[in-house]
Symmetry: D2
Subunit: 364 residues, 4 copies
């Protein structure tokens, strides 16, 4: 079952609400004897952390992660070593502004989970979105930092490739550039256009959607399993589980629908190392649900946040018709902060499948 857990042999369970005392993740299945530091995890959390540019929410959270179990202190300063037992990660919530939630407690913001949580549970933690808040994604990023260490040699990176209808120019793709601008944009020129565009969006209290691409290099071949343990199936589910995501693609994705079989299938030659060498990667590194050894390429679309300044029609918990407007801090483009989250989810899926593959076949 999987209400709040993700994965099987590498299994992440998250807990916590936006405005409770803390949020956290339990990472179960981390192989033993893997060194890591809180500082490393922090690096990824800092990528996701709000309040770092004017393009993301101004909430200020230190997002300090604490390792509460599953590791012994290692030989180096600040180093932990995994023991094979569950690693409990906790992040205290600090900037929970004490404010009056009486309006939002009873009114459903259009496009939010407010109404569906009430439909399902008949009760909901309305403070800051509660469990449906993007705050939970900090736990994913922390777990993902550990997941990255499971598959030897794997590198998982993400980039923003589209905001609104402005796409990057793939010919200018530069991973290093993605670390230099506040958009994780691999194309400096497009980053500039986005800055301008988003300033306008932000000023009019609006929001806009985005598309993120995640690329995993160094993925061993053989990960995944027929037929409901497919690698692409699990990546699709993982990315769709991120707040506000409405679409997922692998490799050519929807564009594959427009291609012919000749153009879409990746031809194979013998590589200089004697191994299969694919002449293209339309498949995004996955055939029949199993990794080919090529980079795994996934994309996902994030909708515009519905926290906007324009009043919108809605109802309250009693069914009265109301107008709802979201005051206060918000992200004009939640897709930006989704980049490290998408990376983390792909890293978790790969870790899980690596352990599963090693279990069933003894490889790896």
């Amino acid at each position: 079952m999987s209400h709040n857990s993700f994965g099987h042999l590498f299994r992440v369970t998250t807990w916590g609400e936006s405005h409770g005392p803390a949020i956290g993740a339990v990472v179960d299945g981390m192989p033993p004897n893997i060194p890591f530091t809180e500082a490393e995890i922090q690096t990824y959390l800092d990528k996701r952390r709000p309040g770092q540019s004017r393009y993301t929410t101004q909430r200020q959270e230190a997002d300090r992660v604490r390792v509460l179990s599953g590791a012994m202190l290692g030989s180096a300063e600040g180093e932990f070593v995994s023991t094979g037992t569950p690693i409990s990660l906790m992040i205290e919530n600090i900037d929970q502004r004490s404010k009056d939630y009486s309006d939002i407690a009873q009114r459903y913001r259009p496009g939010h989970a407010d109404i569906t949580y009430d439909m399902k549970y008949g009760i909901r933690d309305y403070r800051g979105g509660g469990r449906s808040s993007a705050r939970e994604t900090a736990c994913r990023v922390a777990a993902g930092a550990l997941a990255r260490k499971v598959v030897p040699g794997v590198v998982v990176r993400g980039a923003l490739v589209q905001i609104g209808d402005i796409e990057i120019d793939r010919a200018r793709w530069d991973w290093e550039e993605a670390d230099r601008n506040p958009f994780f944009c691999p194309d400096a020129e497009t980053a500039g256009r986005w800055a301008e565009f988003l300033d306008a969006v932000r000023k009019r209290g609006s929001s806009v959607g985005a598309v993120i691409e995640v690329v995993a290099e160094g993925v061993p071949s053989g990960l995944g399993a027929p037929l409901y343990g497919k690698l692409d199936q699990d990546i699709a589910g993982a990315l769709m589980s991120i707040n506000a995501v409405k679409g997922v693609e692998i490799g050519n994705g929807f564009a594959a629908a427009t291609l012919s079989g000749e153009d879409n299938a990746d031809e194979i030659r013998r590589g200089p190392d004697g191994k299969p060498h694919f002449l293209s990667n339309n498949a995004g590194g996955i055939l029949g649900g199993i990794s080919t050894g090529q980079p795994v390429v996934a994309r996902f679309a994030v909708k515009p946040t519905s926290s906007i300044l324009t009043p919108r029609k809605s109802i309250d918990a009693e069914g009265n018709e109301v107008e709802v407007m979201t005051k206060g801090r918000h992200d004009p483009c939640v897709g930006i902060r989704a980049v490290p989250i998408g990376e983390a989810m792909v890293a978790c899926v790969l870790a899980d499948h690596y352990l599963r593959h090693r279990g069933q076949t003894g490889q790896g």
Copy 2:
């Protein structure tokens, strides 16, 4: 774990290869006292069955399903009643042409799972694609026929909305038309254009991709669960697990990336029945991973099959470079037969989440 099983409370396990003696599904978790007939299941199998028009593979399979367990004979002729124990469904393989597989056994078809199965397992059933064959999807369709009976009042229908780059005109959408043409196309005019287009594709031994849309009406609100048991997450995984699928969308999907928050969020009013009435359905019936009570709308993209007549570069199992050409029967557009399969997968996810929701909350 989920190598070959799907779902939790409504759990489907499939088995079988394309050219073995039979394929089958075990449906575990079917609620008791639900009447059904083999004929009903057959209706859906017949939709998926190959050899029905010149646009699908000419393999001839009766695809006769047999119910081997989990049901008692009911009062009406041919009627079964579920007993709550696992329902075993079996379909014998009949048209396994006895032919010489010696070439395909050693050569990897580009774009196929041939190579990845060998990478993973070091062995593979090469006859007709073995476990990676679309033949397995008959099991999904059979299980889906039972799943449709789990959620009271739910209706799950699918349609082909795009072949190559020819999309339907949504203004002409007519569900009844979808049953009249060999493409499950809800737009008669577009069906005509597709016929012409596919004839050309078929004649030149090529293939083309497609996009399918599945709509589930009558879905109760409250299905799904934060945060890794989201309804859209499970639908995304389910659809991505279908052979040749490379992309999945919910509601507006990738188009949401280009919209503003004002345009994308679905406003709410009080309906005549006192219940929430959404003024639009950009969300595809799911908010925060939980169903709103609106129709659930999902789309998925199917790549062009790589079984084509044009010779393509590849290698054999020893690493020698070869040219591969797929002889014999094949589908010019596998997306067509994916329509009933997509419906079945969505039905299975809804059944599973309905039972889970009822379990956790007592509703339903």
Copy 3:
């Protein structure tokens, strides 16, 4: 979830009722490239098969297993080789005596699952006990035959050690003797006493309970996981899942309650091979839920079957008070046939934990 499935990486799903057309098991997670034959599986099925002596039910079932998927024909005659995909095993029901079930359909046999199935599902397949029949255990035995091949070098054997209050003399334990008498009794002298005792039980239409011991030798150290994936936890659950089992012990079991810490803890010395050498095995090969490398020893108690000739008080489906007497063939001691079933369950648990251990730690 686990209504009718067992295990995780090595996962067995069974289906079928006593008097339906067939019963079967889907074994998912069998590692690839493992050779096996139907004849090997049959050997274990024949051990469990009814009708072999006057001490077990006279139902005649050939119990011929068929392999329907998950394997290719190997090089030797009748040899299969696993491909890593699910192995479907089917056994057709042949001797389903067509008789009048009208009495048993409406009356609850005391001590049977008749009443609880009706309480749970409101419907039940009353023919021969339906899903609750011991017939299902043939599937376990077949799956267990495959499980035995997963852990290199492991040997799982069982023996009957008690019938009624007649226990074996452990000083006379001889595994070869266990294959020579109809009781799987490792002590010839006790077997003789049992024969006499059971004849009397059978003649008066009564039944009696038994205790079975299963010993697994060659189990690698390290199998199991804290804290809810303990090897002994899973063995306990596995054995308790067998029909009529009411108690399970590991190592000293309940006797450990009467011992002192000095007497119960197994001391350790360095063995001639440099490895830990335990001076005793009170723990039954498991410490902290993880295998030590010693033989794993488990025992389980089987209640006397409630199918007896003496009339007993009960009610019918309408709540009327009735007298129930089981006519026809039955086992005076169902514990006898439980021996190969217990072996199979332990083998399945070991296979599952071996794959899990290899997955998480890379060992094995």
Copy 4:
């Protein structure tokens, strides 16, 4: 998968080591709108808490539980109300005596998990037993306190029924007495004999085993599922997962092996309420893996702790032969504190099966 998680719809994941900063549990699947208080949970923790009599370890832990998520403050003082999202419970470790672990770090205590953790993981948190410490069971008790609220009307109670070879007299069973003595003994006279016996055991630095009985009253009929989701199977696994447990029984347990079918089967009459009325409860409330509506009765045997003052033969991590003696605080009979733990595990199993049953059948 279930390394450190337990249950399906009501799912408990625990984390933490004996001497880390904290231990905790994440309870996922708690139905919404159930009120509870930290004080209630504390009541059960206090039952398990060490240092309360001279018969248990002198470690002093306040065992203060904190609710970190999954609940809103209710209307009454200190009251929480569950929201349906995961409830994170944390207990800080306070009395982690800073001492020199250098000897124990390298030496394996006979009968402990020290050696198997090292065999499995190649690393272990040796401080206070790390993850294998009974300290983890505080998390089970806390989770069990929530589980007790899931099944309406259920009451789960436990009692110690045997220490060493001194059994209680069942004719004197008095649940209220079990709360009055430090042994959870329902028989005052036997409690007196135990006090004397245990004083002697404690004085000679030895230890002794025990048997605990757990009785759940008010269990609805229909909980459990064929054939690997049996209620007794899950109870057996749950109880065997508790540290030091070596045997589990349901109803008559091992004694059933010595009975005849006439004596063991529970006869049924029509009760005054028209419902089935069983004339005895040899089955322990479970038939065919499904609850009958009678009290569920389970027993489990706890071995004597191996932490004793007598030097015992062992080896160290390098394989050298050593003598090991456990210094410091320990429990002469760990079985005493196992009573609330056993109750908690049974409560968790019942909660899980109640939700599963409600999910599959709509009952409850």
